[in-house]
Structures are given as C-alpha cells and as structure tokens.
Amino acid sequence: MSKLDPRIHEVLDGELPLERLPAELRALVLRLEHAAGLLRAGPAPASVAGRVLAALHRPEPSRGRRVLQWLTERHVITIAMRPVWSLALAAVLAAVVLVPDHGSAPLLGAQEGIARFVGHFPGARSVDVVGPFTDWHTGVVPLRDDDNDGVWSAVVVLPAGTHEYMFVVDGERWVADPLAGRYVSDGFGRQNALLIVRPVGR
C-alpha cells in the first residue's frame, strides 16, 4: 500500500486548507471526499423504528408461556455446589468425556465445555452470572454459597468459545469478575469479563 503525502491527511483532518495543496494531491483529496459522499448518500435499509418500538411494547409473556418456552428451548445446565465439589464434578465430567466410551453417547457435545464461575462477595444475598448465554438475565445461572464463607460459585456447561459475562450481586450491582484476566468493552462504558471455554473433547 503506497503512503499518501501527509499534507493530504492534514487537509482531510481539517488542519490545512485544500488550496495549499498542489493540483495532483488535491485530486486525491477530492477522490476520497467523493467516495465518502457516495457512501453518505447511498441507499440504506428501511426504518426499523416500528420493529424496535413493537419489541419494547411487547408485554411480558405469561407464566405458563414462559414455562412452555423454557421446556422447549435449549438451556445452560446449572449445577450449584460447594467449590470443592464443583471442582471434583468438573474433573469427573472431563474424565467421562475424555475416556472413550463407544457404548453410550457423550455427556457433553464436542463443542461444549465446562465453565466454573467463582466470586468473593461476602455479605451478598444473591449472586448471578449473566452473559449472552443467559440473554443477560439474572436467575438463569445463580451462584451458591452454601457454607456462607462469601465465596460464591457455579459450574455450567457452555458452548466452546469466548463468552462475555458479569456477576450481578443482590440483583442490582453489576460486577466484572476481578479474576477474569481478560475484559472487553460492553458498549455501555463498562468492561465485561471474558471467559474462554474449551471443548472438553479437545
């Protein structure tokens, strides 16, 4: 890719008047501005306002409908237990999947893995983990602290890949996992924690 004369960028960034450029450079500026003008004026999809407002006005489904929906949709499986047992379970599940067993179907899909969420929230009344896998709703993957030591945890089966997630403490305080190590902007001025789930079969 050939580098442009820096004066072209200065003009396009409003730092230099166009008239200060020699004619051949001016042509390149005009070419870029013409391209941008075409993109500005080109056709765009029809309005989505109706669709958006309809979605916002849609009433919450009834309890019965939610139950039916829950029964017919795919779900994250949640097993909440003491941290030490959750580790043991993760090991057992991994062993079951890793040891070939030609006589039965695998416990997890080839593209699924086990994720363990742990957070230290002393005094919290509830802790949930939310992410795209819960549609960012609480109540889907609650963490447990059965021995009241402030360490909350849950083990879940998730599709292999990268997952954004947050902890929701007491149903209202959103906390990025301080131990996650990786974060990504959530688009709202905060950081979501990132979790990489590897397929258990790998």
Binding site: L32, L39, P45, S47
Partner: protein
C-alpha cells in the same frame, strides 16, 4: 410528545427515565438513519444491518439508565451498533462474503446520471469491503458519519493518535482499492 421532537437527546432521555417510554421513538427516528447507513456499509448487507441496528436500539433502551452522560447518547449508540457489527463480522468471517453482496442494483428506469452514480457507489462499496473491519469502521465514522477523533475515541476506547493513524491507513487502502476496482 409533539413539541418535544427537537429537544436535545439528554432531555428526551430524562423524560424516558421518568416513565415516558414512548419518547424513545424520538431518539430512534433521530438516530436510525445514520446508524443504518453505518451498519450497512460495515456489513455490506442491508438485512444484517437492519438486524444489528434494531438489536442495538432495543439494548440501548433497556440499558438507558446505565448511560453515564446522556449528552453522549449518539456516540454510545454508535458504539453499540459498531460492537454488534464486529461480532456479526466475526461470526461471518469463516464464510466468504461476496464483494458483490452490497452492490446496489441500478433500476433500468433510472436516468443516466443515476445509473452512473449507482455504478460509482458499487465501486466504492466493493473497495470499502477490501478494508479490514477496523479500517472500514474508522473511515466510515470519520468521513461518512462525520465523528470527531475525540468522539471516535469515546466510541472505540482507542486513543486519538491510534485512531488518526488508522484513518490515515484506511484512506490509503481505500484509494489503492479504488484503483484496482476501477
């Protein structure tokens, strides 16, 4: 709601947060043309762009209370749409997307000038799609949506000098691609 249509974003947001959810329609209509244009150019597909913008607007409404500075609502919306576009492109990266996908189809009833314009737009869109998503985003935000580098920094989380460099590289790549697609 009439009489409120020209109110600044921050005033409309205050009204929504006070319980007038319908006022969100003002913000949708005010900002969706730019968002749809940006998403269409980013994704090269009007249908995918409409989905991305609709999802982003719904998400914005649901998280409106978490917006720290309502005067920066527009930048915030672009950030949500940009994130959705990037994740859409990420999901689609394994598939080869035809460079012709976004090319406008000229209507045979159009005049000669319109046909030529549609042809030129097709050329520019094909050239644009050869840029990496980051460069494409930088060029579109700066030159098509008219954002300042400071607004782009707030939107992307990158520093201004980084964005300036990215825009410069995007201009160079676009001119190069325009030469090749001529």
């Amino acid at each position: 709601m009439s009489g409120f249509a020209d109110a600044p974003d921050a005033d409309v947001i205050a009204r929504i947060l006070a319980g007038d959810g319908d006022a969100f329609g003002i913000l949708v209509r005010r900002h969706e043309p730019g968002l749809l244009r940006f998403a269409t150019r980013m994704l090269g597909s009007p249908d995918a762009a409409a989905d991305a913008v609709a999802e982003a607007l719904i998400r914005a409404y649901r998280h409106l209370a978490s917006l720290d500075d309502p005067t920066r609502f527009r930048t915030w919306l672009y950030r949500i749409v940009a994130n959705r576009c990037k994740s859409h492109l990420g999901r689609r990266s394994a598939q080869r997307v035809s460079l012709e996908e976004a090319a406008p189809v000229p209507d045979p009833h159009d005049g000669e000038a319109e046909l030529e314009r549609a042809e030129q737009l097709g050329l520019v869109e094909r050239a644009l799609r050869t840029l990496s998503p980051e460069k494409r985003e930088a060029f579109l935000l700066k030159h098509v949506e008219g954002l300042s580098y400071e607004e782009m920094a707030a939107l992307t989380g990158e520093r201004v000098p980084t964005l300036k460099m990215r825009v410069h590289r995007a201009r160079e790549a676009l001119l190069e691609a325009l030469k090749e697609h001529r």
